[in-house]
Amino acid sequence: MVRYFIKRLGMMLIALFLIILVTFVIMHSIPGGPFTSDRNVSKEVEEALNEKYHLNDPLPKQFFDYVGNLLHGDFGPSYRFTGKTVNDFIANGFPVSAKLGGVTILFVILASIPMGILAAIKNGKWQDMLVMAVATIGVTIPSFVIASILIYIFSFRMGALPSFGLDSWKGYVLPVITLGGYSISYLARQMRSSLLEVMGQDYIRTARAKGLSEPKIIIRHALRNAMIPVITVLGPTVANLLTGSFVVEKIFAVPGLGVHFVNSVTMRDYTTIMGVTIFYATFLLAMVFIVDVFYCLIDPRIKYD
């Protein structure tokens, strides 16, 4: 088992290295230097800027310097905002995004699992149809459409909830619903199908034959096993929430990391794009790894090859 985790960790590190390499190569293959702009900058100034940011070094040296700095947690300076570093952006934006994401994950888990259980227990009845209809809508409608409709109804028409900012708990309602919509639907479907499959197993029939009450069968026997596949998709769900937050943060004017990322893309702030991409990727890989470890710990049937 330990060997399996070490192997996973090794693969994760290789993936991370590749991500850094690819991001670096992509960002340095863009025609023109980062200081090429419409304004006429004199040769000397451009030269001095290149010198200051070590852009005249050979590329491999630049790469290893960059990786070395990354290992010290230094993402380098921003090329567009003088005096700011990429670390500043991450330090300012990530806590906001993380708080929103955390609340959303909590909401997703609390909403989707009961929905899935209800649909599975009432299989084929109207409750099931309702849950599945909601889940289908949540999976197929893009989040920015959901957000706009919610804003139009609850903020503009009813005036009940703010359409931007996270100042009070009210501000969280719409972003959390928007951000979690897809994941709730996805997890509820997963929960339903996995519970349905478990309910058809022999040991459930044994439990019924033993004369256990239905709630006891579901909670003690079925749910424990049905939860396992649901936990697996939690890792990718975190990934979804993080990248989905680009749109949500833009619409609801949340000053999170996603907005910084999108802004740096439109402003072509190369070091920020690179740094935030690598930060996101590291975070996601770590999340998937943690979920993986957790998964192996709760399901002893998994073979480690």
Binding site: M11, M12, I14, A15, L18, I19, V22, T23, I26, M27, S29, I30, T136, V139, T140, I141, P142, F144, V145, S148, I149, I151, Y152, F156, A239, L242, T243, F246, V247, K250, I251, F261, V262, V265, T266, R268, I273, T277, Y280, A281, L284, L285, V288
Partner: protein
């Protein structure tokens, strides 16, 4: 047949013959597919949308990029006031201009402003020689007679010039919707085609070769699938710049991993069957075996993956368009149309809801068709 009791002549062959209707595999799939109403509905919607996107522009008088700043932000259903002479209507735009509307609902031109009467909170316009006033003292703004200060009677009529209204630059939304649907579908189809080719080649080789080659290739796929693809699509868009070609390249080169996995799995399970052995015995080349024998047999699950990939490509394109790193204006896609409309969501919600509705329709249609195809192709359901 005169004597019904006469023995029928029956040869051995006839007795052995299977009298059941002999359906081909495709016929079989179609039979199961068409019994699912949602799948058929999705299929019909896709056909209608294709017709709308491809043939639609031939029926409109507008171009997707032509701006008409006289008629900006006009909704499909307008509140209009009767003109004093009764020969038409008057419509107040959001920029507090007055537009002439003919009796049949088609739009005319803007009225000329005569003077400002700020004492009575009115702007006076010239309507075919008579003066009319736009009263802006309180909301909603109304058209009044400047002398008697009587409000003209109002009613709601449909906009006949621009059936779905106009956007913030006075472009016809219906026409832009046609082009937007066309672009979104084009991006999705081409991107999925590129994915399909890469996925089939990569997965096919990996599955057929097996051993070390397979292990190495699958490790590559594993590593790629850990990379958050949204980030990479955005990065590729940064290098290639915004535009139709870059979106297709970005989406096409990123999403082949799932396809490769599906193809590999299918090839792996098929390659030890007798027909492959037979093909190998008669000396077919690897290429023939892969392309003529294995891939056609795996086509079922490939098709399902394709129909599931198309909505995610459309989703991604709309996502990029919405973030403002998609197409360059004046080109429209459904995502960029939504993005343009967010600025005046409060006053003109129709500008956002119409393209959003089309996105949802496409997503629903492809998801339903994908579900239907999966059920139709699932051998477990076969009797």
């Amino acid at each position: 047949m005169e004597n019904k009791w006469e023995m029928l002549e029956s040869s051995n062959e006839e007795r052995e013959k299977i009298w059941r209707l002999n359906r081909t595999f495709a016929g079989d799939v179609w039979f199961r597919f068409r019994r699912k109403p949602t799948a058929i509905a999705g299929f019909v919607i896709i056909l209608l949308l294709l017709f709308f996107a491809l043939a639609g522009p031939a029926f409109t008088d507008y171009s997707y990029s032509a701006q008409n700043l006289e008629v900006v932000n006009i909704p499909p259903r307008m509140t209009v006031y009767d003109a004093p002479d009764g020969s038409g209507y008057l419509y107040i735009t959001q920029a507090l201009k007055v537009v002439w509307v003919n009796r049949d609902g088609t739009l005319g031109s803007q009225l000329k402003k005569v003077r400002e009467d700020s004492e009575h909170s009115m702007t006076i316009y010239d309507c075919k020689g008579t003066e009319v006033g736009l009263y802006y003292g309180f909301k909603p703004y109304v058209m009044v007679d400047p002398e008697t200060r009587v409000i003209f009677s109002s009613q709601k009529i449909w906009n006949q010039s621009y059936v779905l209204g106009t956007d913030s630059l006075g472009r016809d939304i219906l026409t832009r919707l046609m082009y937007g649907t066309r672009v979104s579908l084009l991006v999705a189809f081409v991107a999925v085609l590129v994915n399909l080719v890469i996925g089939i080649i990569f997965g096919g080789i990996s599955g057929y070769a097996g051993g070390t080659v397979d292990a190495v290739m699958m490790r590559i796929v594993d590593i790629i699938s850990t990379i958050p693809l949204t980030l990479y699509v955005i990065l590729i868009m940064v290098i290639l710049g915004t535009g139709l070609k870059s979106i297709i390249i970005a989406l096409g080169t990123v999403y082949w991993v799932d396809m490769a996995r599906v193809v590999r799995g299918q090839v792996l399970s098929l390659k030890n069957q007798e027909f492959v052995l037979a093909a190998r015995t008669i000396g077919s080349s690897v290429k023939t075996i892969l392309m003529q024998h294995l891939i056609p047999n795996a086509m079922g699950s490939i098709l399902v993956t394709v129909t599931m990939l198309i909505p995610s490509a459309i989703f991604m394109e709309a996502f990029l368009g919405f973030l403002g790193i998609g197409l360059q204006p004046p080109l429209a896609s459904l995502g960029t149309m939504c993005n343009d409309a967010t600025e005046n969501l409060r006053s003109c919600p129709h500008q956002l809801f119409i393209p959003a509705l089309v996105i949802c329709l496409i997503m629903f249609a492809f998801n339903f068709v994908g579900d239907g195809l999966r059920d139709a192709l699932d051998p477990k359901l076969k009797k």
